[in-house]
Point group: C2
Chain length 541, copies 2
């Protein structure tokens, strides 16, 4: 009973029809700014689609994109998808064996590659079974063994700047992204026109991120990471000016770009904003003036950081919670009327949490037998989610589907959370990282946050170690910024907040904590290292 | 490839789960306020659904609701629809013959009727072929010939306050509303769960009406008129406090209710806000303090009114343009960054226009041969629209479909508009009301707005009269507030803005202008009256 299919072609057409003059600005490798408009972009996207036709790419075929955030990558978000193909955004930091697996599984026929990643691709090219053409995202081809190879500008040159976009069914795949899980091979997540449309419509809601035409949006988060959290789509649909930082994601460059282009809304992982705070301190001197909100995801920011951005930088931090499977958005820190009526300190307690489910999202927490857990702010359970933009299955991974979806189709996120009386979700750990000690749960995340709250600590992570009597016990890896810091200091610090049985059995002081390709602490590797070095912790009484 | 059906049950569940404590406030007939929460409402909606089960209402069956804006009417928005039936909202102002037609065509099995409309229904009850039960929306049954009849409270009493809402397909009808067109029988417009979901998600967008949980929303526009412009749904999905004025839609009551309940966002036709301005003048004295935006639809407000609400009441007026077929929203007056960069006077010119298409809406203007017309702010054409929430056909009216939809599925609105270089749509007339004088178009709406801009005029309307030589010529009906006003004064006034050939051939001074059941000038009746009295205008040289 409906003839209107929800497709991302609508985004492109609306941007051109109403906001064709609005800009997309890219910081190029040499630091210069590339500027063009949505109307310009549409013309080149049309040329790209013609080039794909000419190449012989069929409906449903995929192209790979391995690139940082820039205007050519933006064109790849629409050219393939709006002409009925799909773009597979590739995380260049993955190990070679994973890269080979996912190129082959996705059956990418073309690979669009940034010059700086050519070497990475050369390293695996022999094993790529389906790639017929490499396209370098530049106006020339560097010295390379990749073959056949062409530069992007030559690839699209000479084609018509108009394209008669096909009427696509809304359940057509428009993108593919692999989750870089901490265990096993990455799993493919397919994005569909309908789901991206719905995610984008939600994204601009006044109680979500309220992205509108008046905003200047800068996704610092990589465009290969869950579609830059959806912001390139969101900016396009609403006609917001879009700023893409290229490879310049260091704090100094981000601050400079915010000021030069009057960015109002910037999205990045917390470390960017933590480093920004270290750089700016208490005297931002006219820096970040245009910024009126900072969107973060991936993990919760410390309260001190939230207060600093509120009071000193006047660019409040809003969290989002989600994942690759959810396009990514599920929950964000809106402050409800009820929350705003609480004393300031309690409001900050809520600001530290992930927040309130976005319109259309259902969130529930469940114990190990699948029963719902009370919403008392204390009881923990695995977070199950349902949303119009969540996947229903992984790409060609039936065994993963079985463990990740309930019988009634809800996604088991693998995250542990609490929900309080105000409806705020707090994400306290990963199912895989929770420490099950003698039948009780100890949160590795809460422990490591508290350890990192000590002035003498640079960073820290907590893993579970096998234990003869208690099954599992916590072990902390700590990077000190003060060598005089002793285990005893940390134990005293933790006892102020946690019962004695929560305290790690062992504190290991290290030079740095290994991270995954997406910048998270690599607990899997630490657990393996620990196993090799210490094995099972003994019961000593 | 999607298992998540978009349904309005989601609105109800979200409101209860997250905002169960938020209030729905109704002004009762006696002036008292009825207050309860979304959680309370959900319980009674569940009881209503059980009562419908018990009655034997099947999936897909319809119930009629003939009521003003109050909490029981609100319950009828969800009880039937979320349990797989549909609610047919009835305009009580329709003539008897239309009421009979639409009750019978809709095959309503139950009729829920406000006490004050019982007499109206009694007048047609003998001809209603499908109604098996009347339910009076009160806690007692008045003296009535309706039979069988029961009061609403008895109808739902004693049932379980929880209901296991069925998983509905998104293309299930949830509502039915008849357009009160100016010609012929009203046409049925079916609302579907999917379309209402999409309309509601759009409605809260920051560039549309930005309705959020922090708002207190008051639809003054009747809930039988395009679902109260969608606001009851919007408030529910986002957990906004909802204020329903009952039958108290006079200006004094509306102002009082805004202040008592701290309404932030109120929606009504322009006449309410024009009358409000007459009442408040330049010294609102603490009235409307909470109001931060006024949403209007149906026709454009005069610039003086927009300025008054901006500067004196600090409650800016935002227009929406739409229609029953579009749920109703298509276009609204957002001020783009480009518009905001214009001189103030030019900004007000844009504020007078309908505005910018909402995300997902495509608007184009076409000449009589169907060709697109330039976007120069001058060229006029019929407005064609496409939107995810627009109907694809009228209910059982194939002949109306043929004239109202293009071959590629776009809706021909019957409105005449211009689109300017900034993308702003201005609705200048109805196709049926435009005056075709010697091959040129004269806008009846522009003429009447200009006439109403004269200080001596209370209200005015302009119709087309048949003319021997020019085919059609304008005739003005004018209500004076100053009896000394002469035709010559109005002619001089109009010549300041229009060429001589635009001026009406005749000015008829009347005591009042007849209106349709939805409060618009009844041009159809005036044309008939004119025909009877004057016939065809002669060619006098």
């Amino acid at each position: 009973m409906h003839t209107y299919d929800l497709t991302i072609t609508t985004f492109l057409e609306r941007a051109t029809d109403l906001f064709g003059h609005k800009e997309i600005v890219t910081k190029l490798p040499d630091g210069d700014l590339h500027r063009y408009t949505y109307a310009d972009a549409h013309e080149r996207i049309a040329q790209l689609a013609h080039a794909l036709d000419d190449f012989g790419l069929d409906a449903g075929d995929r192209v790979a994109a391995m690139a940082v955030n820039h205007y050519r990558h933006y064109e790849l978000y629409f050219g393939p998808s709006c002409s009925g193909r799909s773009v597979h955004t590739v995380n260049h930091r993955l190990p070679d064996e994973h890269l080979v697996h996912l190129f082959n599984e996705a059956e990418d026929r073309l690979a669009f590659v940034d010059p700086q990643f050519v070497e990475t691709v050369e390293g695996v090219a022999d094993e790529l079974e389906t790639v017929e053409q490499y396209v370098i995202l530049d106006d020339e081809v560097p010295e390379t063994s990749l073959d056949p190879v062409v530069d992007y500008e030559s690839f699209i040159a000479g084609y018509d700047t108009a394209y008669d976009w096909p009427a696509l069914g809304e359940d057509t795949e428009c993108g593919l992204c692999y989750t870089s899980g901490t265990t096993g091979l990455p799993k493919g997540v397919q994005y569909y026109h309908r789901k991206v449309f719905l995610h984008t419509l939600m994204h601009g809601h006044t109680d979500v991120f309220a992205v509108g035409e008046g905003d200047t949006v800068m996704p610092v988060v990589p465009m290969f990471h869950v579609n830059g959290w959806g912001f390139p789509y969101t900016a396009t649909f609403y006609g917001s000016k879009l700023v893409l930082p290229g490879q310049h994601t260091d704090v100094a460059s981000v601050a400079e770009l915010v000021d030069e282009e009057a960015v109002t809304c910037a999205a990045a992982v917390p470390t960017v904003w933590i480093d920004m705070e270290k750089r700016l301190g208490d005297d931002p001197e006219g820096v970040l003036d245009s910024l009126d909100r900072v969107l973060i995801g991936g993990s919760s920011p410390p309260e001190s950081l939230i207060r600093k951005y509120d009071d000193v930088y006047e660019a409040p931090i809003y969290q989002g919670y989600g994942m690759t499977e959810a396009s990514p958005h599920l929950v964000n820190t809106m402050m409800t009327t009820e929350a705003k009526s609480l004393p300031e300190d309690e409001q900050y307690d809520l600001r530290m949490k992930a927040g309130i489910p976005a319109p259309g999202v259902e969130i529930e927490i469940h114990d190990e037998s699948g029963d719902p857990v009370p919403h008392d702010g204390e009881s923990r359970g695995e977070i199950y989610a349902r949303a119009p933009w969540l996947i229903d299955e992984y790409y060609e991974r039936p065994e993963a589907n079985e463990e990740s979806f309930t019988e009634d189709g809800r996604f088991k996120t693998g995250d542990i959370g609490t929900i309080d009386e105000y409806g705020y979700l707090d994400v306290v750990d990963r199912v895989d990282d929770i420490i099950k000690s003698g039948g009780e749960w100890i949160s590795s995340i809460e422990l490591e946050n508290e350890i990192m709250g000590h002035d003498g600590v640079e960073e820290a992570t907590v893993i579970s170690a096998d234990h003869e009597k208690w099954q599992e016990r916590p072990v902390a890896y700590v990077v000190r910024n003060d060598d005089s810091l002793a285990e005893e200091d940390l134990r005293d610090h933790l006892l102020e907040r946690f019962p004695k049985w929560w305290l790690p059995d062992l504190f290991v002081f290290v030079e740095n904590v290994p991270r995954t390709t997406t910048g998270k602490f690599d607990k899997k590797r630490l657990r393996e290292d620990f196993d090799d070095e210490f094995g099972t912790l003994p019961h000593e009484g």
